[in-house]
């Protein structure tokens, strides 16, 4: 069975759990005590990923780190429809990839602010918040124009893609880092759409579209 080296409160780990759940793929969760134990810095986990980063996915002989890479692999391997990682149109494939890169920026900003405020990590929370607001403004504008063209998702097309899964967690958890989404209405509508994708699951800090339903 697939094994996911996982930490419950990690948005990057949640990305992998979210796509696996939506696709109905069974997997085993291996808890790595990132906080408060800092076990990701210890030899046992460094043997799995020398970079000391979560998540890591193991499937047969494959061992894969980096949450965006895991999304790409899981979509290509377990989504026969191909719509979660669409490759037919070069234009769409490029845009999906662009938003996967954008998600790395969210990790460097919104996630860093959350780790600083919530778990006492020694990051510059103010700089991280400023960076996150710049990204949120870009994303909000993009989603607003998408909506004007009848598009619900980050990349063009009728269905959500790995781009939406990659960007969702640290947008949705941003308030834990002191980043309000009050002034980003198109982002708020988009997060609500993500929560209504069939098979959607929550993590601590993220509630279902209907409270008490999960």
């Amino acid at each position: 069975m697939i094994r996911l080296y996982d930490f419950d409160l990690s948005g990057n780990c949640y990305k992998a759990r979210l796509l696996l759940a939506i696709l109905g793929v069974e997997y085993e969760r291996r808890n790595v005590d990132f906080f408060p134990g800092l076990k990701h810095r210890e030899p046992e986990f460094l043997a799995v990923n020398p970079l000391g980063q979560l998540p890591v996915l193991e499937d047969g002989d494959l061992r894969l780190a980096q949450s965006q890479a895991i999304l790409v692999y899981v979509a290509r391997k377990y989504d026969p429809s191909g719509r979660w990682y669409p490759l037919d149109s070069p234009e769409i494939a490029g845009q999906v990839q662009q938003w996967l890169g954008f998600a790395e920026g969210l990790t460097a900003t919104a996630s860093a602010a959350r780790l600083a405020d919530g778990m006492g990590f020694d990051f510059d929370a103010e700089a991280a918040r400023d960076g996150a607001h710049k990204l949120f403004a870009v994303m909000d504008e993009h989603l607003w124009f998408q909506e004007r063209q009848g598009q619900d998702w980050l990349a063009p097309g009728a269905a959500p893609t790995v781009a939406d899964i990659a960007c969702f967690p640290y947008v949705m958890l941003s308030e834990e880092g002191g980043i309000s989404r009050e002034t980003y209405p198109a982002i708020r509508r988009w997060t609500d759409r993500v929560k209504r994708i069939p098979g959607f699951v929550v993590m601590p800090g993220i509630f279902p579209a209907v409270l008490g339903s999960q």
Partner: protein, 284 residues
């Protein structure tokens, strides 16, 4: 707005500033009541220094490092269970929350949110009723105690295998600390202890140190910590979206229901002790 000075009742308390397991040789920084502190461990134990470099008093108790900026009368409130040899004492994590520590304590005392916020663990729809319970002052008015709190919980603890009506006892022996006792699935005659020790970093922010003293001979520490963090992680967005971020003490400021008896007593108790820090005092 300049940060307010702590009132005498708050100033003269011991406060937790770290789990003991997180205190190392290398100094770390934190904040207590707006004052930046440094703490570290040397040959003789834990040390804490204040903003001007002065050495502050230190207690190492209940898996935490405690200090004070004032002159407390005596030591910490007792938790006798902590010394029972067959219990697992675990510091499950210290989480920063952008809301007043009193809001955090009040949320800890509330059972009404279980089915909605901790769905499938501490509560479940349609079991939303908070049954009648008792709340009183004890220890000469130094402590609030709520008893006979019964709630249906699908998965009350790490060793639960099925849902059950779980009995809770809450103690509030300190303005930003609460100790919760709940039926142990391992031994019906004994209670698990779950404490939330609040470190008010500012009037609208705190670090919650979660400490457990429980009967669990099955699970590893990291799973027990995982369970607590999972629950606290669910509370966090609810807490951080509360407005105002300080706890209003005027009884007319927020409308309580019968299930909020403990909270009503807590707010009254803070007011009667002259607390102004982290709260919005009632108009005179």
């Amino acid at each position: 707005m300049a940060d307010p000075l702590p009132d005498p009742f708050m100033l003269n308390q011991w406060f937790p500033i770290s789990a003991l397991q997180d205190v190392h040789d290398r100094p770390r920084r934190t904040t207590l009541l707006g004052e930046p502190l440094v703490y570290f461990r040397d040959g003789s134990g834990c040390r804490v220094t204040g903003a001007d470099g002065r050495a502050l008093p230190v207690l190492e108790q209940y898996a935490c490092l405690w200090t004070t900026l004032g002159r407390p009368e005596g030591g910490l409130f007792p938790i006798p269970e902590y010394d029972e040899p067959d219990r697992r004492n675990i510091a499950a994590g210290s989480i920063g929350v952008n809301v007043s520590a009193m809001r955090g304590i009040e949320n800890f005392l509330d059972m009404g949110h279980f089915p909605y916020v901790h769905t499938g663990i501490l509560g479940e729809l349609p079991h939303t009723e908070v049954k009648e319970y008792n709340v009183e002052l004890r220890e000469g008015g130094r402590e609030i105690v709520a008893t006979e709190c019964l709630f249906y919980q699908p998965r009350a603890s790490t060793v639960s295998t099925s849902g059950a009506d779980v009995e809770y006892v809450y103690r509030v022996p300190h303005p930003t600390c609460s100790v919760l006792y709940k039926s142990s699935p391992m031994d019906t005659r004994r209670l698990d202890v779950i404490a939330l020790f609040g470190q008010p970093t500012g009037p609208e922010s705190f670090r919650g140190h979660m400490v457990l003293s429980i009967l669990d001979d099955v699970n590893a520490d990291d799973f027990i910590s995982y369970f607590q963090l999972h629950i606290f992680g669910q509370d966090k967005p609810i807490l951080e979206n509360q407005m105002p971020k300080r706890l209003p003490l005027d009884p007319r400021a927020e409308t309580p229901i019968r299930a909020d008896k403990t909270s009503i007593m807590y707010r009254r108790w803070l007011a009667s002790n002259g607390v102004t820090y982290g709260v919005i005092p009632a108009a005179a």
